[in-house]
C-alpha cells in the first residue's frame, strides 16, 4: 500500500544553491513525524515542498500514491493543510471568516455553505473552545490564540495530513501545552502530523517517527529512538534521557 506522503530522490535548490539533497522516505497514515535539524538544515523548505507551497523540486513527492504536481490547488487543500511559522495578518479579519475559509476548497463559486460545512465549523469551534473569539479581529488576539485559531482552521478544513512549522514559537508554557494537547488529540483521531520544531524535548515523547536533516541530506528517518550520537551529530551538543513521573524526558546535558 502506498504511504500517506512519500519522497523519492527529492531535491530542491534555490538560485542554484542546493537546499535539499536526494531525500527518500515514506510517511504512513497516522504517523506523528518530528522533523529536526540545525538552523539552515532545510527543515522549513522540506515542509513547504511537501505542502505544495514550493514547486519546481526535482525527484518526486507522492501524496496518497499520486504525484503532488497532479493535484489542483483545491484538491490538495482537501488532503493537507500547512501552518507556516509566522502568520501574515496585516489587515483586520474576523476569526469566524478565518475559520470558515477552511471550507473554501469544498465549495464552488456561488455555492452557499452546506450543512456539512456548518457541522465542521461548529465542531471545530467547540473542540478548540473558540466560541468567545468568533467576532473578534484576528489582529487583536494573542500569539497563542492565533495559533489555536489556525490549528482549528486546519481541523475545520478536515484534512488527513497536517504540516506545522515551529508551532510553539513565541508561546508561553501554558499556551504551548494547550497547543500540544490539541495536536495530540488530532493525532489520536487518526490524522497524520508532521511537525518541524527545535523543541524536540517537547515533541520527542509524542512522535512515532523522526526525520533528521543535516545540510539538506537525510541523516535519519525511522521509528522514534533515543540515539546519543544522532542528536550529538545533528545539534553538536550532548542529549540525555531520563524517565521521571512515568514520562520519558530528554534534555541537553550542559
Amino acid at each position: 500500500m502506498a504511504g500517506m506522503i512519500e519522497a523519492r530522490k527529492l531535491s530542491y535548490a534555490a538560485s542554484r544553491k542546493p537546499i535539499l539533497r536526494d531525500l527518500d522516505f515514506v510517511v504512513e497514515a497516522n504517523d506523528f513525524v518530528l522533523v529536526f535539524g540545525a538552523n539552515g538544515a532545510g527543515k522549513s523548505t522540506l515542509l513547504r515542498v511537501l505542502a505544495g507551497m514550493l514547486r519546481k523540486s526535482t525527484g518526486e513527492v507522492r501524496l496518497a500514491g499520486r504525484g503532488l504536481e497532479s493535484y489542483s490547488r483545491r484538491e490538495l487543500a482537501t488532503r493537507l493543510s500547512y501552518l507556516p511559522q509566522a502568520d501574515e495578518f496585516t489587515l483586520p479579519l474576523l476569526v469566524r471568516d478565518i475559520l470558515l475559509a477552511g471550507r473554501y476548497p469544498y465549495r464552488s463559486l456561488f455555492q452557499k455553505l452546506t450543512r456539512r460545512d456548518m457541522e465542521a465549523f461548529t465542531a471545530g469551534v467547540a473542540q478548540f473552545g473558540l466560541d468567545g473569539l468568533l467576532t473578534r479581529n484576528i489582529q487583536t488576539l494573542s500569539g497563542g490564540e492565533r495559533k489555536k485559531v489556525l490549528l482549528a482552521g486546519a481541523f475545520i478544513q478536515d484534512v488527513p495530513l497536517i504540516l506545522l512549522d515551529e508551532p510553539l514559537n513565541f508561546l508561553d508554557p501554558g499556551s504551548a501545552r494547550r497547543l500540544v494537547r490539541m495536536l495530540q488529540e488530532l493525532h489520536r483521531e487518526g490524522r497524520t502530523i508532521i511537525v518541524v520544531s527545535h523543541e524536540i524535548e517537547r515533541f520527542f515523547p509524542l512522535a512515532t517517527k523522526m526525520l533528521a536533516l543535516q545540510d539538506g541530506a537525510l541523516r535519519y528517518f525511522g521509528a522514534r529512538t533515543f540515539s546519543t550520537p544522532l542528536f550529538q551529530d545533528v545539534y553538536g551538543v550532548p542529549f540525555q534521557r531520563i524517565t521521571a513521573a512515568g514520562r520519558e524526558i530528554i534534555f541537553v546535558d550542559d
Binding site: R73, A77, S81, E88, T90, L91, P92, L93, L94, Y104
Partner: protein, 326 residues
C-alpha cells in the same frame, strides 16, 4: 450603530447630496425652473446633474480600487495613486490625446483604452521591481511607486511640451483631476462600470479574504493565489483606466475612503465594499461641489480639493504605521 444601518444612512445621505448639490453653486437654481424650458433647466439637466453622477461613479470606482489594491498588497497604504497606477493611466490618456487617437478612430473609448494600457504598464513595472529584489515589503512598493510616478510624470510633461497652448490648459485641468461632462454617454458608461466592479468584488469576496490573510494561508486553503492576483490586477487596470481617462488621476480618494469604510465595516467584507462605494462616490460629489463654489468665479479642479484634504490624512496614516512597526 449596526453596519447595516450605517449603510442605509449613508446611502440616504449620498442620495441627498446627489439631489441637492446640482441646485447649489455660483448660480443657485430654483427647483421650479428645472421643469421649464430655458437656460436654468439646461444648466441643471445638461451640466450639473450629469456632473454629480459622473463624480459619484468616479469616486466609487477609485475608492473601490483602493480597497482592492490594499487587499491584494495586504497593506493599507498600497493604493493605485501611491503605487503609480493612476499616473500610468494618466500618461496613457495623455498620449492618446496628444496623438489624437481618440478623435481619429476609437472615439472616447480610445482614451480609455490607452489609460488601461498605461495602468497595466505601471502594474507590470511594480511586479518586475518586486521580483528583481525579491521583496514585497511596504518600503519596496512605496519606493517603486515613487519611481513609477516620476517616470510617468516625465512622459506627461514631454507630451505637454509638444502640445498646443490651448490644449495644455485643458490638459493641465484634467491632470489635476476634474469632473468635466461631455454628455450622458460617459456618465452611464462609468456608472455601469462601477456596478460591474462592485459585483466582481462581492462575487469574489471569499478569494479576497483568503488573499488578505496571506499567501501561504490562501494557498493551503486551495486558492491559486498567483492566478487570482494576475486577473485581479488586470481588472483593476480596466476600472482605474476608465475612471482616470474621464476624470483625471484624482488623488487620495482611494487611500482615505477604504480606511474609513473598513473601520466602519468592522472587517465585514460585504458591508465594507458597499460603504466604500457610497463613501467614495459621496465624497467626490461633495468635493466637486466645493471645487466649483469655493472661489467664484474660478472653478478649482476637484483633485486639488481631495489632495488638500487627503495629504495630511496620508501623513497621519504613514506615521501610525511606522510607529506600529518600530
Amino acid at each position: 450603530m449596526s453596519t447595516t444601518r450605517k449603510l442605509w444612512l449613508l446611502a440616504g445621505a449620498v442620495l441627498l447630496a446627489l439631489a441637492v448639490t446640482p441646485f447649489l453653486g455660483i448660480i443657485a437654481i430654483d427647483p421650479r425652473a428645472v421643469l421649464q424650458q430655458g437656460p436654468v433647466s439646461f444648466i441643471f439637466w445638461q451640466l450639473r446633474l450629469p456632473r454629480a453622477l459622473l463624480g459619484f461613479a468616479a469616486g466609487g470606482i477609485l475608492a473601490l480600487s483602493g480597497l482592492v489594491c490594499q487587499n491584494l498588497f495586504k497593506n493599507d497604504l498600497a493604493t493605485p495613486d501611491l503605487l503609480g497606477i493612476s499616473s500610468g493611466a494618466a500618461a496613457g490618456a495623455v498620449i492618446a490625446l496628444k496623438f489624437k487617437v481618440a478623435s481619429t478612430f476609437l472615439g472616447s473609448g480610445g482614451t480609455a483604452l490607452f489609460s488601461f494600457l498605461g495602468a497595466l504598464a505601471a502594474i507590470l513595472a511594480i511586479f518586475a521591481i518586486a521580483r528583481m529584489i525579491r521583496s514585497s515589503s511596504l518600503y519596496t512598493f512605496l519606493m517603486s511607486g515613487i519611481a513609477i510616478n516620476f517616470f510617468f510624470s516625465s512622459v506627461i510633461v514631454i507630451c505637454q511640451y509638444v502640445f498646443d497652448f490651448t490644449d495644455t490648459f485643458s490638459l493641465l485641468r484634467w491632470l489635476t483631476g476634474a469632473i468635466v461632462v461631455a454628455g450622458y454617454k460617459e456618465v452611464f458608461f462609468l456608472l455601469a462600470l462601477l456596478a460591474v466592479f462592485l459585483a466582481f468584488v462581492l462575487m469574489f469576496r471569499e478569494e479576497f479574504l483568503l488573499v488578505a490573510a496571506g499567501d501561504d494561508f490562501a494557498l493551503t486553503r486551495g486558492l491559486d493565489v498567483a492566478a487570482f492576483r494576475k486577473y485581479s490586477f488586470l481588472g483593476l487596470a480596466v476600472f482605474v483606466g476608465a475612471a482616470v481617462s474621464l476624470c483625471g488621476p484624482i488623488g487620495f480618494v482611494a487611500l482615505v475612503v477604504p480606511h474609513v469604510s473598513r473601520s466602519w465595516g468592522g472587517s465585514r467584507y460585504r458591508e465594507t465594499a458597499g460603504l466604500t462605494v457610497l463613501l467614495g462616490g459621496g465624497l467626490l460629489v461633495l468635493a466637486d461641489f466645493l471645487a466649483r463654489s469655493l472661489l467664484p468665479p474660478v472653478e478649482v479642479p476637484v483633485g486639488i480639493v481631495t489632495s488638500f484634504l487627503g495629504a495630511p490624512f496620508f501623513l497621519a496614516l504613514l506615521l501610525s504605521q511606522l510607529k506600529r512597526s518600530a
